[in-house]
């Protein structure tokens, strides 16, 4: 080893550490220098900070929400009149497929799970970044590329047209010519890889990077929800990745997974799809429950009632959520005993949800929660989710499901559940955390308009669909005969969609206005109790000047008058504290990677591989080469970096 003359030994071994005695301004300067990501056009692609990536996730997912909503508006125009010629069947089928796929894969999961968790979880557990920050950046670019790919395809008339579920054989090689379905299947791969990566990051962040003192029984409920969701993602998403891969292979290289003539099976696809598809609903909905717990606690000014019951409910929901996929397949004529089992499981999942609702009501009881906009959305959530849950109970019953399955009744049901369970909490979350993200408050007045228009618009759009379904209107029809008596309800539904559109426009105006002119928020405008409110708004590049310690479930409310802070982390490199699994006692320190362009390049290489493999199987071995190169570049340590680490590293004592 010949030492590089340019780097003195002294510089290698020099260590800068934070001390309790540092004054805030200098410490800020030192930390900011280390933790700031580069800016500028190229710098933007190098950023690995969880807040930057989280914000991008939020904005991107919201854009997809707007796109998906526009598609829904087109569908409502088409259905506003019987036998309408506004969209032909070909366009309509693409549009409803795009609407479903966009909302599920490009909006709901990325927004409720990835976006909110990536932004909030590290702040809530008191950490300076998310675990594996480069993987986090990579996951975002993959998601973005997948979404762009799908919409480019759609605008080029290669939009998928077999429904968001893409049942074989309709989506198989014989009945879906061209590449439409392949783009859908590959979009799945993109979004699922990104969700799986975030799931791993969240699990590691929650288990290993909590502030000292935040034992498992003190984790904020939103973090519990994210953690449970992350576990669901890990066990649910592989199923859809496999089934969409099988579908693509059936179409591209003539495998026979779903071809009954060669021993394949169309129901196999349905099993695989719904083994993912049902947990998917809970993946979307559980983070929303976390939001509700956060907002209710903050506005009721007390600890949530029944913390343990709420956590157990989340966990139970996750477990039972894997046991009821077959209730999407009752009409296929499965054996009766199996059906009864799945009915029981589907009814059972109502119990944890009911428990949570009771606990929240008990939390608010006698506290008269402050009715500000986030709280409005939470109350809207109650109204709508309960209704959706109750129709869900009806759908769990096999005989009743045989009647209303695949009708507008189901459309009504799952919009009540998903919009009630995810979009209402999402708006609550946006109103609640917007001050933290931007440093300014959203307008309350506009917020109330936003809420009431959305609430009435929503019910106007979706309530009549229950009746339409019972009166025989099937889903996914682009036209219906005038004599069926479905027209009036459809007109009401379409009018409701207008209200919802106006409401979302008000929200957008509110965001753009408030970002510049909104009232300055301050650190903790709601007086809430979790850690993210303990730092400035927006948080600095390093999140917390001193890593806090935690004394209770609501860290800020429960803090001792002289609550300890963590010192001794290095300030000249991105060092974070790792704590242990159960009681979050400090365990070791570890250095986090700097900003880097490699994750972006790796995502581009992966994108080339995925898109190429739509057209030829050779794209996989050939495309793997740039992926391998970029991934190696990503992990390859700089020589100086290695020497510096070698000079200062400190090994753990061997355990006996």
């Amino acid at each position: 080893m010949t030492p590089d003359p340019n780097i003195s030994e002294e510089r290698l071994t020099h260590v800068e550490v934070e001390h309790a005695t540092d004054d805030d301004a200098t410490l800020h300067q030192r930390l900011d220098k280390t933790w700031s990501d580069p800016s500028g056009f190229i710098g933007w692609f190098k950023q690995v900070n969880h807040r930057s990536i989280g914000k991008r996730y939020i904005v991107t997912a919201f854009i997809f929400f707007l796109l998906g909503g526009s598609l829904a508006a087109l569908m409502r125009i088409q259905l506003a009149r019987p036998e309408n010629n506004f969209l032909g069947p070909d366009k309509y089928n693409q549009i409803f497929t795009m609407h479903g796929s966009t909302m599920m894969f490009l909006f709901a999961v990325p927004m409720m799970f990835e976006a909110l968790s990536v932004y909030l979880v590290p702040l809530m557990v008191g950490s300076r970044n998310i675990a594996f920050p480069r993987l986090n950046a990579y996951s975002y670019y993959l998601y973005l590329c997948g979404g762009i790919m799908l919409f480019v395809a759609f605008f080029l008339n290669i939009g998928p047209d077999t429904g968001w579920f893409s049942y074989v054989p309709l989506s198989g090689p014989d009945f879906s010519p061209g590449k439409r379905v392949d783009f859908w299947a590959q979009m799945i791969t993109f979004t699922e890889v990104s969700a799986l990566a975030v799931a791993v990051e969240i699990i590691v962040t929650v288990f290993k990077m909590r502030a000292p003192g935040m034992s498992l029984n003190r984790i904020p409920l939103f973090v519990w929800a994210s953690l449970v969701t992350a576990f669901m993602v890990i066990f649910a998403m592989p199923s859809i990745m496999l089934s969409s891969t099988m579908l693509i292979m059936d179409r591209l290289v003539s495998t026979q997974f779903f071809n009954p003539a060669e021993g394949g099976d169309a129901l196999l696809y349905q099993h695989l799809f719904w083994f993912f598809g049902h947990p998917e609903v809970y993946i979307i909905f559980i983070p929303g429950l976390g939001v509700v717990s956060s907002v209710i606690a903050a506005f009721s000014r007390r600890h949530v009632f029944g913390y343990l019951a709420l956590v157990l409910s989340l966990v139970t929901t996750a477990f039972v959520g894997f046991g009821l996929w077959v209730h999407h397949m009752f009409a296929t004529g499965l054996p009766q005993l199996g059906e009864s089992f799945f009915t029981a499981a589907s009814l059972m999942i109502a119990i944890p949800t009911a428990t949570q609702i009771y606990c929240w009501i008990a939390t608010m009881w006698g506290r008269r929660p402050v009715l500000m906009t986030p709280m409005y959305w939470v109350l809207g959530f109650f109204f709508i989710l309960i209704m959706g849950g109750l129709t869900g109970i009806m759908l769990a019953s096999v005989p009743l499901d045989l009647q209303v399955h695949d009708t507008f009744f189901v459309v009504a049901h799952f919009h009540y559940v998903l919009i009630g369970g995810a979009v209402f909490p999402l708006f609550a979350a946006l109103y609640f955390w917007f001050p933290k993200i931007t440093g300014r408050m959203l307008s309350e007045a506009a917020g109330k308009w936003n809420f009431w228009l959305f609430f009435f618009g929503f019910n106007m759009t979706f309530f009549p669909m229950h009746i339409l379904g019972l009166r025989g209107m099937p889903r996914r029809v682009y036209a219906y005969p005038p004599e069926m008596g479905w027209t009036a309800m459809n007109v009401i539904a379409s009018l409701g969609a207008v209200l919802m559109t106006v409401s979302v426009l008000i929200f957008l105006a509110n965001v753009f206005w408030s970002m510049r002119r909104g009232a300055i928020a301050g650190d903790n405008p709601w007086g809430a109790g979790t850690l993210e409110w303990g730092t400035s708004s927006p948080p600095p590049s390093y999140n917390f000047l001193h890593i806090p310690t935690v004394n209770g479930r609501e860290a800020l409310w429960d803090a001792a008058p002289n609550q300890a802070i963590v010192t001794g982390l290095r300030t000249d490199v991105r060092e974070v504290l790792v704590t242990n699994y159960l009681d979050a006692a400090p365990d070791h320190r570890t250095e986090f990677p700097d900003a880097s362009i490699w994750p972006f390049l790796a995502a581009l290489a992966t994108t080339a591989l995925f898109i190429g493999s739509i057209f030829t199987p050779w794209a996989v071995p050939i495309g793997a080469i740039p992926v391998a190169i970029t991934m190696t570049g990503w992990f390859w340590p700089g020589k100086e970096e290695s020497r510096r680490r070698k000079a200062t590293e400190k090994w753990a004592e061997e355990e006996a």
């Binding site: 032909g88 069947p89 077999t162 049942y167 054989p169 309709l170 009945f175 009954p260 099976d265 169309a266 129901l267 000014r301 007390r302 009632f305 019951a309 009409a331 009766q336 009915t343 009814l347 109502a350 119990i351 009911a354 428990t355 609702i357 009771y358 009501i361 008990a362 608010m364 009881w365 006698g366 506290r367 008269r368 929660p369 109650f382 309960i386 129709t391 109970i393 009806m394 019953s397 096999v398 005989p399 009743l400 499901d401 045989l402 009647q403 695949d406 019910n459 309530f463 229950h466 009746i467 379904g469 019972l470 009166r471 025989g472 099937p474 996914r476 682009y478 036209a479 005969p481 109790g529």
Partner: protein, 338 residues
């Protein structure tokens, strides 16, 4: 309060929406044994759920609107109140569990009731799903007596029917809500469904599983009639087409047999014997054409033949250019296929 008001409105809108018009494609106007049982279950669940909804929303409204019991800055709640709350929540959960158990039992009982109809001499029919029409067969051990028709099912009232079904291409779902719930037709699977119509009438049904371009226009009619009428109908459907007598119809038949029609359609008793499209042997006896899309009359039929793509875009019937004389005689011929 507001919540209760809104839910009351919701319930009344709902009830108004569900009753009202008698509909021939409706879950809540049951005319068959199975549909009636399911209808009972639906209303049971509806009322249980409505009560649950009202109670929960009432509790929520009270929690939100009731005046504060503890001071604002007291983040930790009072222990005594918490104990009471725990008891109340526990009772609420217990009631929830019990109600769900009750619903489970009633659901399973209903399921048993609608599946346990296995009589001695059922009428057997076969339904084959095609993109986008229904092939209906009344099989007979004597193959020449097998009836093949399309998009119109005749059944005798009060007689159990067993429907064997499959699909020729993609997954379809057979659904006549006034009679029974739906059943998917899955390629590679044969399934049997039992049902029984209790009242004379014509009930509309429709494909309920998305099956491609014209999923929206894949309807059928289920005609429940007295056994006498049904037997007469069946007898009549068994006959082959008679050769037409008048000149115009003969010209039409000539045209039919020498043009593109024969590539797909069958008219028993002639050389036309292809099974791609619906069997036309008794076309004129059907109430609708194009899978329940249009009433069967010469005007609609003519338009359909000339350019079906403007009516049902993407369907399998190609447009056919012909002069109006040919069309007239063709229609005259098709009208003879009673």
């Amino acid at each position: 309060m507001k919540g209760r008001f809104i839910s009351a409105c919701g319930v009344s809108v709902f009830l108004a929406g569900c009753s009202g018009l008698q509909s021939s494609q409706s879950v809540v106007n049951p005319e068959g044994l199975q549909a009636a049982r399911i209808d009972h279950l639906f209303w049971l669940m509806f009322w249980v759920c409505t009560i649950a909804f009202v109670i929960t929303i009432a509790a929520l409204s009270r929690a939100v609107l009731r005046k504060r019991e503890t001071p604002v800055e007291n983040f930790r709640p009072v222990d005594r109140a918490e104990a009471t709350k725990t008891r109340v929540v526990a009772v609420a959960i217990a009631i929830t569990v019990l109600s769900l158990f009750g619903l489970l039992v009633s659901s399973i009982l209903t399921g048993k009731a609608i599946a346990s109809l296995h009589p001695q001499n059922p009428l057997t029919i076969e339904v084959v799903g095609h993109q986008w029409w229904w092939e209906i067969r009344y099989p007979n051990s004597d193959a020449s007596k097998t009836v093949i028709t399309a998009n119109e099912i005749h059944v005798p009232v009060g007689t159990p029917v067993v429907m064997n079904s499959t699909s020729r291409d993609v997954i379809h779902s057979f659904w006549a809500p006034n009679i029974h719930g739906k059943r998917d037709l899955i390629p590679g699977y044969q399934t049997a469904l039992w049902f029984q119509a209790d009242k004379e009438g014509t009930y509309r049904g429709q494909c309920a599983e998305f099956c491609g371009h014209q999923h929206a226009h894949m309807a059928f009619f289920l005609v429940a009639e007295t056994p006498e009428k049904f037997n007469a109908w069946l007898q009549q459907q068994r006959t082959s087409a008679k050769d037409p007598q008048d000149a115009a119809a003969q010209k039409g038949q000539q045209f039919f047999l020498s043009h593109t029609c024969v590539m797909c359609h069958t008219v028993r008793g002639t050389i036309a014997g292809s099974n791609v499209g619906p069997d036309l042997t008794h076309l004129a006896s059907r109430q609708t054409i194009a899978a329940g899309t249009l009433p069967n009359n010469p005007g609609n039929l003519g338009g359909w033949i000339i350019n079906s793509q403007s009516i049902k875009p993407g369907n399998r019937m190609p447009p056919n250019q012909m002069n109006s004389d040919d069309l007239q005689s063709l229609l005259t011929y098709l009208e003879t296929l009673k």
